[in-house]
């Protein structure tokens, strides 16, 4: 569970990234956090993974109050979260298997546990056959799947995907998003940060829109459907878009071994 309560965030440069954010994401939810560049999305991610402490307000994630926790507790909070990055952040010198296993070594898992679990998550993301490849030998979409496998491998209760499709073509983007939705269907809370309107509109999920450090919309289904937001934030000369139809649920990938993820 994520709970941001009256959160303000200012940087040393004077930039006020967040100006009183209240956001609650319950266990098992799938949430898109959307907004233009510089709106404060990345700042929220950094606050959730305790890379930043709020200037004011309170951030509670999976039972950890980041404003009150000791620095030595931060790694333990992060182990309850799986993070997926736009640039994948894989270690190039390690194989796909080692990149994923590496996350389990951090928590002190036994070799047997690592072998079993890594095989399972690589199968879940459809990369079991490429376990011995190096990341540089994979396509962007496959690298992002490895990143998702690494995020999943310790069975976190929350997955945060920060612009996970930013470096992918539309087809691969849809695949990744469907994979995240599938992971959510297995019980994991998923927070996806993105600014890809078309992609978000294909999923009937909760969408939290942020701009100028404020939450300007929070509703289920669609990205730019909130009238007030559209009127306030539309660009000069841009016509108000037609309300987006409720998207059809994308086809789910083949589900296997649902009991573990």
């Amino acid at each position: 569970m994520i709970h941001l309560s009256d959160v303000y965030q200012s940087y040393a440069t004077g930039t006020r990234a967040l100006q009183g954010i209240n956001l609650r994401i319950e266990d098992g939810e799938f949430v898109f956090l959307v907004g233009p560049s510089g709106s404060g999305k990345s700042t929220i991610i950094k606050l959730i993974i305790a890379e930043l402490l709020p200037t004011a307000g309170r951030v509670t994630v999976n039972g950890y109050n980041t404003t009150k926790m000791r620095a030595s507790e931060v790694p333990y909070l992060r182990r309850t979260i799986g993070v997926v990055f736009q640039d994948f952040r894989l270690i190039e010198k390690k194989t796909v298997y080692e990149n994923v296993a590496f996350a389990m070594r951090i928590v002190g898992a036994s070799p047997q546990e690592i072998r079993n679990r890594v095989a399972y998550v690589l199968d879940l993301v459809g990369l079991a056959h490429k376990a011995r490849r190096k990341p540089t030998e994979l396509s962007g979409g496959e690298q992002q799947r490895v990143s998702i496998a690494r995020a999943l491998v310790n069975n976190p209760s929350l997955i945060i995907a920060d612009e996970p499709t930013g470096n992918l073509d539309p087809d691969r983007s849809l695949e990744i998003m469907m994979l995240l939705e599938h992971i959510n269907s297995l019980g994991t809370t998923v927070l996806v940060v993105t600014h890809e309107k078309e992609l978000v509109n294909q999923f009937n999920q909760r969408v939290v829109a942020i701009d100028g450090g404020l939450i300007v919309s929070d509703r289920t289904g669609g990205y730019y459907q909130y009238e007030q937001y559209e009127n306030r934030y539309k660009h000069p000369g841009e016509s108000t878009p037609e309300p987006t139809e409720q998207p059809e649920q994308p086809e789910q990938p083949e589900q296997s071994d649902e009991q573990q993820a």
Binding site: E51, V83, R89, A109
Partner: protein
């Protein structure tokens, strides 16, 4: 955290790191080795010079003349008292007959001047006293003077204090040189390791974001530094042995008045000092260099 499982991983990562960062590893070992050999050579030279000065200091041994009112037996018995004085390393009793013979030897052709004195020897019984540390020469001379039964003492106090001053200057100069070399070593090593760590900053960032503790991140670096440091210390030790034998001894042995310090006399202290210093410099340098990359 299960340390048993992780130790094998840390060790494997540490060894892999050495080969992955081949040039940096080579640079680290080279820098540590060079600094250790330079420092070791300076110390060896310092030992040679101070040893030589101490040797020169023994020329100014103390001559203590025994009161002529004491019988020869009582005069000989003073040896125990003199040996008991602090800083006395050796005592040689020169009775009047031996004193006369030594005087004749010194006079050489002119020794006939002393003919006939054997039956009426005018010399006093005498002790030659050597000191351990010329630094305490004056105090030792005073103690010998104050010994009951000693009538007169001759000692090269001025010459010895000059030698002592020279030794002190050399000692301070050598220490300064060693400290400067140590500082240069730490600077070079910390920069070398910083470069190696900088190369891995992204990896460290990823480890931290996915929940690695600082200890987990540091461990492979620690093991890598440990291996590199010990390797550098062993190489430095072998090089120092070669230098000590081939250069110092052969070059300085031609200067016969010098008391050359042999590296072979200090094998264990050198090995201990090299390994200890390399570990401190290498491991501390590594752990300190990585610190700023842990702030994620």
């Amino acid at each position: 955290m299960n340390n048993r499982h992780n130790f094998a991983y840390f060790f494997r990562e540490g060894v892999q790191g050495i080969f992955t960062h081949g040039f940096m590893s080579f640079a680290s070992v080279s820098v540590i080795t060079t600094c250790l050999v330079l420092t070791g050579t300076v110390v060896l030279l310092m030992l040679t010079l101070t040893g030589t000065i101490d040797e020169l200091g023994s020329v100014g041994d103390i001559r203590a003349y025994v009161d002529e009112t004491l019988s020869d037996e009582n005069a000989a018995a003073l040896e125990t008292t003199l040996r008991a004085i602090d800083n006395v390393s050796g005592v040689d009793f020169i009775d009047r007959a031996r004193g006369l013979n030594e005087l004749k030897e010194q006079l050489g052709e002119n020794s006939t001047l002393l003919d006939g004195l054997e039956n009426d020897n005018p010399l006093r019984n005498c002790y030659r006293v050597w000191v351990t540390d010329i630094g305490d020469y004056q105090d030792t001379v005073l103690a010998v003077e104050n010994t009951r039964g000693i009538a007169q003492v001759y000692a090269s106090v001025d010459a010895v204090s000059e030698l002592q001053r020279l030794r002190n200057i050399l000692g301070v100069a050598s220490l300064t040189f060693v400290i400067m070399l140590g500082m240069v070593s730490i600077f070079l090593i910390s920069n070398t390791i910083k470069l190696a760590t900088f190369d891995r900053r992204e990896e460290i960032g990823i480890m931290k974001i996915i929940g690695a503790t600082d200890g987990f991140v540091r461990a492979p670096f620690f093991i890598e530094s440990l291996i590199l440091s010990v390797t550098a210390a062993v190489i430095a030790f072998v090089l120092q042995w070669i230098i000590g034998d081939a250069i110092v001894e052969s070059a300085l042995s031609s200067l016969t008045f010098m008391k050359v310090a042999s590296f072979r006399d200090f094998l264990l202290p050198y090995l201990g000092a090299f390994v200890g210093t390399a570990l401190i410099i290498g491991v501390l340098g590594s752990l300190l260099s990585i610190r700023k990359f842990l702030r994620v």
